[in-house]
């Protein structure tokens, strides 16, 4: 039995030509461009769009039910795709990311392989996409050029998401922002397929055009409830994982801010050197993060500048974001989303997105610490923070989740109304919590 599992099929270089790689859909916008990058690199791939109850059911059937929800969904989505009959099973491979951190997520690939054997697809190889040197024989071959392209694409994706999110709620003609995003996605994917658009120069030229286009959409900027979304990376981005959270928030007339995917990439790049600094390591280990981050910063500053120039809210640069953790959580907390999650919450609150949904799979271990564990502390310093943690799992009903979010929104709306009323009428002390520091909790 054991041996059998050790003999899982490897993804060999030859398979690049013969196999189609299925990609689970986490962040729909960013991943679409990523798929184009892979295609350009000579892989045949497909971004999975299948959803529905059977995805979760298959996950429940083939994965330990106490495993986190993202694992259930990702594996369920793969199995559902393989079951569909749309793919030649002997020429299909799957790709999954692996962070190699102390969280359960590093084990997804193993759970997936176990599930494939149980479900009768032992021949399907799984590719590991990681930067930690795990799975040497089935890893995705990473070259510097490829890495640069991927980074460029994530930034394009983050920019498109940010522009659309800040335009759509206010557009006078419904659908403008979505159509524009779609148009740009097609354009960018078109570039990528022709191996264009990813150099520093091209990015510098393209990004302002994108932001300008969005800024040109006619809008009526009335005050709306601004909601930030943070959380475990999969349920934060994936509509399948979070019951279409963004859409729901939009239907409640909110502006939604999903901090970019690049933050997570930078966080992953930052941690190795931090680890070496905390526990000891070589000179290279201590400085490698700085080098990578420096490189990413070049693109980051373009995006931030472009957003600002066009009147959009821009995220803090990563090196500023790191500093926000001061007095809240150590940057040594590096499992799962770790300190980044706390930092994102603080950034959002400070930027006026003080209403926050903190999304995590039920029983997510890192989020006990950096999510739920930090909310009290954040509120202590920023009493206006209106944070609601939402758990996602196969049996948590949408009604229940939405009800909680609605509560958060109701409070937010009331504050918005008060702000609008402003100095006009004096408000009672208890109705203006933002003005009053929270009473310290007694023992």
């Amino acid at each position: 039995m054991e041996l059998e599992f050790q003999n899982y099929p490897k993804f060999t270089p030859e398979m690049k030509k013969t196999h189609k790689i299925l990609i689970p859909n986490m962040a729909p916008v960013q991943f679409r461009i990523l798929a184009a990058v892979m295609e350009q690199a000579g892989y045949t791939c497909e971004l999975l769009e299948n959803c529905g109850s059977q995805v979760c059911e298959l996950g429940l059937k083939y994965v330990h039910n106490d495993t986190c929800y993202p694992a259930l969904l990702v594996i369920g989505q793969f199995l559902d795709a393989l079951n569909s009959g749309k793919y030649d099973l002997d020429h299909t491979a799957l790709i999954i990311t692996q962070t190699g951190g102390g969280c359960r997520a590093s084990n997804y690939i193993h759970l997936l392989r176990k599930a494939l054997v149980k479900a009768g697809y032992p021949q399907v190889p799984v590719v590991s996409l990681n930067f930690s040197g795990l799975e040497k024989d089935s890893g995705f071959p990473m070259t510097v050029t490829l890495m640069r392209k991927l980074l460029a694409c994530i930034y394009y994706g983050d920019l498109l998401v940010a522009c659309k999110a800040q335009t759509e709620p206010y557009e006078t003609h419904k659908g403008d922002a979505a159509a524009l995003q779609e148009k740009w996605l097609d354009t960018i994917c078109g570039w990528v397929l022709q191996d264009k658009g990813w150099s520093g120069r091209e990015i510098k030229a393209a990004m302002p055009r994108i932001a300008r286009d969005f800024a040109a959409i006619p809008v009526r900027r009335v005050p709306k409830v601004k909601v930030g979304v943070v959380g475990e990376i999969y349920v934060k981005y994936s509509p399948l994982g979070n019951n279409d959270l963004e859409k729901f928030l939009a239907s409640q007339d909110c502006e939604v801010n999903l901090p970019g995917l690049m933050g997570f990439v930078q966080y992953c790049a930052y941690n190795p050197s931090e680890t070496a600094r905390l526990y000891g390591g070589t000179f290279l280990e201590k400085h490698v993060s700085g080098l990578i981050l420096k490189y990413i910063e070049g693109m980051e500053s373009v995006m931030i500048q472009v957003l600002k120039d066009n009147g959009f809210h821009a995220p803090l640069p990563f090196r500023e974001l790191v500093k926000l953790t001061d007095g809240f959580i150590s940057t040594g907390d590096k499992m799962g989303e770790g300190w980044l999650l706390t930092a994102e919450m603080i950034e959002l609150v400070r930027a006026g997105y003080e209403n926050i949904v903190c999304a995590q799979p039920f029983g997510c271990l890192p989020n006990h610490i950096c999510g739920k564990g930090m909310i009290n502390k954040i509120r202590e310093i920023y009493p206006q923070a209106n944070i609601t943690p939402i758990d996602y799992d196969p049996s948590a009903t949408r009604v229940n989740q939405e009800n909680r979010i609605k509560l958060m929104i109701a409070v937010a709306r009331e504050r918005l109304a008060e702000k609008a009323a402003g100095a006009a009428a004096p408000v009672s002390a208890d109705a203006q919590p933002a003005a009053e520091p929270r009473e310290p909790a007694a023992v």
Partner: protein, 979 residues
């Protein structure tokens, strides 16, 4: 006019106000999940009688009202928000509102920083929970309230989730605790749940308002809150209607009420819920199914008044029922009896035995065997000959129907048991752990909530055309899924069928986690009362794609198996030791509850005294109250580890007092840190073994109610330390653990690694002292010494490098010494056990599972059963690193895999894994450990533990394990018959 509609989880409320906002009409009714119909009816009623012209301002609120409001375009007001609006108008000056509803619990802090808290997705201590408990006690809610007022004492009932509380309450009932005391304990559990789960450290004080059904109807519950919080809360006029009133106040759009009612009706007809195929496609299919199952029947023979041949009696004293079966020498059935146990099984069993004696004057009882939850009690009370663990009883019975049975599934009242049979022995046992999702009692409670008898309810589903697709998880969650479906227009028939299918899915995917029928076996016997429900039976066959045997005595299999067991054990001509006619006639049972008091555990004992002076004690964790002798712990490595840890005492030093919390990884690293800081001249104090009291003192500051229990205990330890007058508390963050070379990496789990961050962010106690929680790594000794020096120098400027170096060397040496002591003692225990021919159980968990409050005395439970207990870390060094199918990256878990591997090479050694509820990492490790053990031909046993203290299920598992091991040994020792 203004109309507010509040659609809650169990009730619906409607108010009508005139333009001056005077209440002109209000109603509060149970909706029995007929949400749409009821809403429609109330709107029509309001329009016709109270709203001239039928047009009024309208808003809808309530947990079940959301989707509905949207579907008909009426504004929805979040219910907590509505409560606030109403309280602002009706009860100004309120500081805090506590509102309990059918399934929700909420606390609103209105002054000093407005905040609202609602129960998380893992909380059930609410109205539905109280109803469920009342049903369990066979009382109405009013009766329970009245009973609670006569309480003399309260028991500890787990306050996290309704399902756990239930498993605490059931044994109390079975042990004969007074219903009055249990009732009061249930209310207290709700109070604890609300405060711990919702207040999360924020004090509740000032003017407190009590709202919602449970708090309005139960005086006792209000008093429990008053008492616990130290406040004098008020339950205002219209306390049931606040949400509806808030909705009405808030409403700002007018609607034609009749039009809205019409829209609701249309929406109901749309049936938008998710469905699955029907159970039976035709009447013929159903008839064929019935005919097939009618064949699995036990022959019955007449049991006349003068029947004189030897008979064997089996008594199954289950969690909710008592079953008695009498068979003859040929295993034919003479008599059966099945009744609900009404809280105390003893008088019922007595009645049945009395009836047997009365109706059969020549009765010759050859053997009496008891089984089930109440096995020991019944055996002692009536002097039965044998007691047999229920799993073995069920297997014995199933084998009678299908000699080559390879899988048995039994779904009873609140428990589910499945076992795989290989080579004629139980090879694997699945019991539902702390979760009773989808068991019989759930179906029953649900049927009652909907106003049906359970049999009638189940029948409804047989021919449902579009059964609702419900989730496959927790009972509490299932409720909201059902509500959702109803809102979407599912009929009662389709809901009934959906629930039956859910029961099956829970069993298969949650408890057994099978992926294919082949995996379970092809020869399946299903039993337990729940399988009388044809919808469940059919759903099981459909889900598994295999035809199964359901004996006609499916609900009596435990008792039948017990009788068969006795028949097998009894020698010819034997007469049972059962109480004779006179003994039974004079039988009395007195129940008394007291604290043991012989040691610090302070077990709550229930002492049953019978007419002949014999006593039966339950609730004890050790044999001391029974035998008077204390456990020496000589076969228990857990006890030895505790002794080692507690041996570290403070030594007065020049640098003041420093405290270490004895939680999580300190259970292993205390020797290290204690030595380190003692060497540096600190007087090092540590918190004691955890206790219930210690936990409760810290529970108010726990921010995440779904974290594992060992982590939650940390708050209590910090609280304890804060009272010692220390200068410093030290609790470092540690991403990495020591690298023992057994795995691919050597992480701590995220919770162990970073819990100090949670303490720093949430425990006000640490503000009173210096709290050092920097990041350190012991895996690189040289770097550690440098790093800890820089850390400590910030706080203690006089510390020198040399001192730290010396202290750190001593600390590493002490840690190594500690581990070697553990391994040496482990070796001694193993040797002694082998010399004495005892079984050796590797009770594998994490270092912190040694804490008695965490393991609930499971270690002593095993030694009491005669086996020796060693730890995973005492043997993990006996194997080399080996490949695993999962990423082997946590130090503690690498030991687990290594220990499992080692067990496979030792015939007399078996592994039992302790898993803390909510431990996400164990979702991965438990499957891997199972695979390692099974590959080595070993049984895998997992015990899930939480703050729950009921050891009943644990005992069954362990006894089943021992029974299976005995059977395997017997098989092995039997000479092989076939060539």
């Amino acid at each position: 006019m203004k109309v507010g509609l509040d659609v809650g989880s169990t009730t619906i409320k409607c108010v009508v106000m005139d333009d001056a906002e005077n209440l002109v009409y209000s109603t509060y009714e149970r909706h029995y999940s007929h949400i749409l119909e009821k809403s429609e009816e109330l709107l029509r009623r309001a329009a016709e009688r109270y709203v001239p012209g039928g047009r009024a301002f309208l808003a809808i609120s309530g947990s079940a009202g959301m989707g509905m409001a949207e579907s008909v375009g009426v504004p929805f007001v979040q219910e907590v928000f509505a409560t606030r609006v109403a309280a602002g108008r009706l009860a100004p000056g309120t500081d805090c509102i506590i509102e309990l509803g059918g399934e929700d619990a909420k606390i609103l802090f209105l002054t000093g920083g407005m905040e609202v808290r609602m129960n998380g997705s893992c909380a059930g201590g609410t109205g539905a929970f109280i109803d469920q408990m009342a049903t369990l006690l066979k009382m109405s809610a009013d009766e329970m309230d009245a009973a609670a007022q006569k309480a003399e004492k309260t028991y500890t009932i787990a306050s996290r989730c309704g399902v756990f509380a239930k498993s605490d309450v059931q044994p109390l009932i079975n042990q004969g605790a007074r219903a009055e005391d249990i009732s009061a304990s249930i209310y207290q559990a709700v109070v604890n749940q609300t405060i711990a789960g919702l207040a999360q450290g924020r004090p509740i004080k000032g003017n407190v308002l009590y709202l919602g059904g449970p708090l309005t109807f139960s005086r006792c519950l209000r008093e429990s809150f008053d008492h616990t919080l130290g406040v004098q809360g008020t339950c205002p006029e219209n306390s049931l209607l606040y949400v509806a009133l808030g909705a009405a106040y808030y409403s700002d759009q007018t609607f034609d009420l009749i039009q809205v009612a019409d829209d609701l009706q249309k929406h109901g007809a749309a049936e938008t819920y998710r469905s699955q195929p029907p159970l039976f496609s035709s009447e013929e299919e159903y008839e064929a199914f019935r005919a097939r199952h009618a064949k699995a029947a036990v022959p019955r023979v007449p049991f006349g008044a003068d029947y004189a041949a030897p008979v064997h009696i089996g008594i199954d004293s289950g969690s909710t029922t008592v079953k008695v079966v009498v068979i003859d020498q040929e295993a034919r059935i003479l008599f059966t009896d099945y009744r609900p146990n009404l809280g105390n099984p003893v008088p019922l069993i007595r009645q049945v035995l009395q009836q047997l004696y009365d109706e059969h004057l020549a009765l010759h009882v050859a053997s009496v065997t008891t089984t089930g939850y109440g096995e020991d009690l019944a055996k002692n009370a009536f002097h039965a000959d044998y007691g047999v663990v229920e799993t073995v009883a069920h297997f014995t019975a199933a084998r009678h129907f299908l000699p080559n049975v390879d899988f048995i599934i039994d779904i009873g009242g609140q428990d589910m048991k499945c076992f795989k049979i290989e080579d004629g022995a139980i090879s694997n046992i699945f019991l539902n752990e702390a979760c009773s999702s989808g068991c019989g009692s759930f179906l029953q409670t649900f049927a009652q909530a909907l106003g049906y008898d359970v049999k009638e309810f189940a029948k409804l589903g047989l021919f449902a055309d579009r059964p609702v697709d419900l989730g496959s998880r927790c009972t509490v969650f299932m409720n909201s899924s059902v509500k959702q479906a109803q809102k979407d227009g599912a009929t009662i028939e389709n809901i009934s069928a959906g629930l039956s299918i859910s029961v099956v899915k829970n069993a298969i995917y949650k408890v057994i986690r099978a992926s294919s029928p082949e995996e379970l076996g092809r020869n399946i016997v299903v039993q337990g009362g729940t399988f009388y429900n044809e919808a469940v039976l059919r759903a099981f066959e459909k889900e598994m794609g295999v035809e199964v045997i359901r004996p006609d005595i499916a609900g009596l299999m435990g008792a039948f198996g017990a009788a068969l067991y006795g028949r097998g054990k009894a020698v010819p001509g034997q007469t049972s030791a059962l109480l004779d006619r006179e003994g039974l006639a004079g039988f009395r049972q007195e129940t008394e509850s007291r604290i043991c008091g012989l040691c610090g555990n302070n077990c709550q004992l229930t002492v049953n005294t019978f007419a002949d002076g014999a006593t039966f004690i339950s609730g004890n964790r050790c044999d001391r109250p029974v035998t008077g002798k204390a456990d020496t712990g000589e076969r228990n490595l857990y006890a030895y580890k505790r002794k080692l840890i507690l041996g570290y005492k403070p030594v007065p030093g020049k640098r003041g007092k420093l405290g270490l919390p004895l939680c999580l990884n300190f259970w292993e690293l205390l020797p290290f840190w204690h030595t380190f800081f003692t060497k540096l001249g600190f007087a090092v104090y540590h918190s004691p073994l955890s206790s219930r009291d210690l936990y409760l003192k810290g529970q108010g500051t726990i921010p995440s109610d779904t974290a594992c229990f060992p982590a939650k205990l940390a708050h209590g330890h910090i609280h304890f330390l804060s009272k010692l007058g220390l200068d410093t508390i030290f609790y470092p963050c540690m991403t990495y653990n020591i690298d023992e070379g057994l795995g691919d990496n050597h992480y701590n789990c995220p919770v162990v690694a970073y819990y100090p961050e949670v303490i720093a962010g949430n425990c006000p106690e640490i503000k009173e002292t210096r709290f050092i929680y920097d990041y350190v790594g012991l895996h690189r000794p040289k770097d550690f010494t440098k790093k800890i020096f820089t850390i400590l120098r910030q706080y203690f400027p006089d510390i020198t490098k040399g001192e730290v170096k010396e202290a750190s060397d001593a600390a590493y040496a002490e840690y190594a010494h500690h581990m070697s002591l553990v391994r040496k003692e482990g070796e001694r225990i193993i040797d002694q056990a082998r010399a004495e021919g005892r079984r050796i159980i590797v009770l594998a968990g994490r270092p912190y599972h040694v804490d008695p409050e965490v393991n609930h005395g499971i270690d002593t439970l095993i030694t009491r059963a005669g086996a020796a207990v060693v730890t995973e870390d005492s043997i993990s060094n006996r194997v080399e690193k080996f490949p695993t199918t999962v990423l082997n990256q946590w130090t503690y878990h690498s030991r687990l895999y290594a220990a499992a591997r080692y067990c496979c090479s030792q015939p007399d050694m078996d592994l039992v894994q302790l898993v803390s509820f909510g431990c996400g990492v164990d979702a991965i490790t438990s499957d891997e450990t199972r695979e390692i053990l099974q590959a080595g031909g070993k049984l895998y046993t997992q015990l899930k533990i939480d703050e729950i203290t009921n050891l009943g299920a644990v005992r069954i598992r362990l006894r089943s394990l021992f029974a299976a091991l005995d059977e395997q040994d017997e098989k092995r020792n039997e000479p092989r018959k076939e060539a």
